[in-house]
């Protein structure tokens, strides 16, 4: 007779998110619980199935009794926690962060292949970004079209590193990484080789599908034609990590 598999000692806690009483496993993060209950928390770097990055800071929430804001993607739930996800202050911060992202590189939606299917664009709309108050940086970056199937446009990149993580954690190739620092960071393939010359890239296209903007797209797409499909990710991730 097979021995019973020991159950990990994980408790269920109850917490309050925006006046909803919810229960959650104590190893879940706030954003996981929010997504489960369809509570909208904006995020650009978090993606179900990938490791936590905590870089875009759009998912910051207020937790009652804590002075500092917490990122919902990297904060675990706790018993009795009271979370506010959408206060006036948070809305203002999110709007400013999105404005600064728009101003950092070239995000002109009207000529972008991802127009209408872009997470940055959608968040801009849902967070009420009707104009950008900070000056545009207007630094041109290269476009890498050397890969036969895909294209990389650094001007549309928001450095969320989803491509880096999906390539490393799901595909297992680790073709992508980040070089440089500050606003001049670039995602690179191998040691900054042209993508088409990369020896590690398997051309699986996962990076393209998880990219929230028009930075990673399929070759041959025109304005508004690049529709991305991410439903494979949680499935693959669960199989891979057998949670």
């Amino acid at each position: 007779m097979p021995l019973p598999v020991p159950q990990p000692n994980i408790r269920v806690v109850t917490l309050k998110i925006d006046d909803q009483d919810l229960s959650a496993r104590e190893d879940e993060t706030i954003i996981e619980v929010c997504r489960e209950h369809k509570i909208p928390v904006p995020s650009l770097c978090y993606l179900d199935g990938l490791s936590v990055w905590g870089g875009c800071r759009l998912c910051v929430v207020e937790i009652a009794g804590q002075g500092r804001l917490s990122a919902a993607c990297s904060t675990r739930v706790a018993e009795g926690m009271h979370v506010h996800t959408n206060t006036e202050r948070l809305q203002r911060y999110r709007r400013t962060i999105i404005e600064m992202l728009f101003a950092e590189r070239n995000h002109v939606c009207s000529v972008c292949v991802s127009n209408g299917h872009c997470e940055l664009q959608a968040l801009g709309q849902s967070c009420g970004v009707d104009h950008v108050r900070v000056p545009y940086r207007q630094t041109p970056y290269p476009v890498d079209s050397s890969h036969e199937s895909f294209r990389l446009d650094h001007n549309r990149c928001i450095l969320c590193t989803r491509c880096v993580r999906v390539c490393d954690e799901i595909e297992g190739a680790h073709t992508w990484d980040v070089m440089g620092r500050g606003s001049d960071c670039l995602v690179i393939t191998d040691l900054a080789l042209p993508w088409g010359e990369s020896e590690t890239c398997t051309s699986c296209g996962k990076c393209v599908q998880v990219c929230p903007t028009g930075a990673l797209v399929k070759q041959g797409t025109s304005v508004g034609e690049m529709v991305k499909d991410q439903h494979f990710l949680p499935i693959l991730a669960r199989r891979r990590h057998a949670r």
């Binding site: 870089g55 800071r57 962060i97 992202l101 101003a103 950092e104 928001i158 500050g182 606003s183």
Partner: protein, 539 residues
């Protein structure tokens, strides 16, 4: 090994030099070397020769008054800095005169009085050996009582006793945050796990700060001793010193110290003939300021890209390679040996109610005595700047002092009488930081200062989180516009709003504190910003 054995060893080392009655100590720390201490040392050594075997020329660490370097002290063998004859701005040509003066009348033209407040008002705990012992000499360190704290901890104290003394001392982290050291140590000690690590953060990067460099260059064994005691207390057996590659002399002296301590049995397996093993490795920082942030520093040690990650988990829980890790600053470790030697209560008697002990400050900028000082916590800024620092040179008026580097802020004249400790500085909108103090006179523009620090944060932002990456760059753009007298009131309002967003939402300390120089100059010198807005300043 017991304390008596070590004392015997120390007595032997002292006996080896019993014939020497006088020492000529040449400061060989980085700042004196940059003003020409090495040729002075050579000239003195050659001139001394073997003729005077009662006198020894030796290279020592920092004596503090860097602006007067190269410094040479002539002292009776066991005398400290105050009781020596100090010479300033020494050149190789002065060597014969200095040697001739040993034991006789001092050379008046080179004399630098040691009874001046700069020396007399200091209280040296961390720097007790600095400028007295030869940093490359293991024997020299043991002769002045070195490693007695480690031997005492290993032979007479349990790890719990060590934790108790450190907690009782009230010591707080000297890297800037001021987290209670005893609490941090106890947390790591309580964590389960066979493998734990100790890290010494020597990635000192604040502009104008050189405390850690001086300690490493002047008394490297002290850091090793402090780290070994920490490792014993928390149950670690492996440590890393993360030191920036821009400090080649500090690295070299650390390497020498590690090698000699290992050979003498104070590092490695069976430290001081006990069951305790302790290995230390040096890791060089490649020049990124953000690697002073503890999670980025650990990523860098692991060979990853040096960028921070969200906390919790804190390093005490999950640090280097996921193991519980104790990470402290150089100066914090430098305080450990005296605490164990003299007892926690001894340190707790120095300083203010909530900030115990002494603090090393690096005085820089528009101040007469540029250099390194160590004063008890609670000394007023006025004492530090006007009395110890000698005030502002060239008859100019004082305007502000910047503390805490790019994370700190500027303090104006009106608050100079505040006693310096972690909490008082926080109420003024700045922070202790690692101890850099940049003094500015009436000719400095505070908007320029804010822009300078923002530029620093912008170029040092790792690029991981959006508010810091884009926010510092936008704020720098606005400050640049304002300094060039092209800004508007709307720009100033936007600047203040960005400050709030970046402070509240950034991932790590670098971003969260990057707006501080702007916020503090706005708080105390808002008129300077307004003046520029009206276009009154020359572009």
């Amino acid at each position: 090994m017991h304390l008596e054995d070590l004392a015997e060893k120390a007595a032997d080392f002292r006996a080896e030099e019993a014939h020497i009655t006088h020492e000529v100590r040449v400061c060989m720390a980085a700042s004196c070397q940059s003003s020409g201490a090495a040729p002075v040392m050579t000239a003195l050594t050659e001139a001394c020769g073997d003729a005077t075997d009662h006198c020894k020329v030796k290279g020592v660490g920092c004596m503090g008054l860097c602006s007067a370097g190269p410094l040479v002290a002539v002292a009776d063998k066991d005398a400290d800095l105050i009781h020596s004859v100090l010479y300033r701005d020494v050149t190789p040509d002065d060597a014969p005169d200095i040697l001739a003066s040993v034991g006789g009348a001092p050379v008046d033209r080179l004399r630098c009085p040691t009874d001046q407040p700069f020396f007399a008002r200091q209280q040296r705990v961390v720097l007790e050996n600095s400028g007295i012992i030869d940093p490359d000499s293991f024997k020299g360190y043991v002769a002045v009582g070195g490693y007695s704290a480690l031997v005492k901890a290993l032979s007479e104290m349990t790890p719990a006793d060590v934790l108790r003394e450190v907690t009782a001392s009230g010591l707080r982290g000297r890297g800037g945050g001021g987290y209670p050291t005893g609490l941090k140590w106890s947390t790591v000690a309580k964590m389960p796990g066979d493998q734990k690590y100790v890290i010494c953060n020597a990635d000192e990067g604040d502009p104008g700060a050189f405390m850690d460099r001086a300690v490493l260059e002047s008394d490297p064994h002290r850091i090793l001793e402090g780290m070994a005691i920490a490792a014993y207390a928390v149950g670690a057996n492996k440590a890393y010193i993360y030191v920036r590659a821009e400090y080649p002399l500090a690295v070299e002296r650390l390497q020498t110290a590690i090698r000699k301590a290992k050979r003498a049995g104070f590092l490695g397996s069976k430290v001081a003939d006990t069951q305790f093993s302790f290995e230390v490795e040096i890791r060089l920082g490649a020049g990124a300021f953000v690697c002073g942030e503890e999670t980025a520093l650990m990523a860098s040690i692991e060979g990853l890209r040096g960028q921070p990650r969200p906390r919790p988990p804190y390093p005490a829980e999950s640090g280097l390679w996921g193991c519980p890790t104790l990470i402290n600053n150089v100066e914090t470790f430098a305080n450990i040996a005296p605490i164990i030697r003299e007892g926690g209560d001894w340190l707790a008697a120095i300083g203010t109610e909530k900030s115990k002990g002494t603090k090393v400050f690096a005085l820089a900028g528009k101040i007469a005595n540029t250099g390194l000082i160590e004063v008890p916590m609670g000394t007023t800024l006025r004492d530090i700047i006007e009395v110890i620092g000698g005030g502002i040179p060239d008859g100019k008026a004082f305007k502000a002092v910047q503390t805490g580097g790019p994370s700190g802020g500027c303090i104006p004249q009106a608050h100079l009488d505040i006693p310096v400790d972690y909490d008082s500085l926080k109420t003024l909108g700045t922070m202790m930081g690692s101890g850099g103090m940049i003094v500015m006179d009436e000719t400095s523009s505070m908007v320029d200062v804010a822009r300078y620090f923002m530029e620093f944060c912008m170029t040092e932002s790792c690029g991981k989180c959006v508010p810091c990456r884009t926010g510092t760059q936008q704020m720098h753009g606005l400050l640049d516009k304002i300094t060039k007298a092209r800004g508007s009131h709307a720009d100033l309002a936007l600047l203040e709003e960005l400050c709030e967003v970046v402070q509240a939402t950034s991932l790590c300390g670098l971003g969260q504190t990057a707006p501080n120089p702007v916020l503090s100059t706005l708080r105390y010198f808002r008129d300077e910003y307004e003046e520029k807005l009206r276009g009154e300043a020359t572009p």
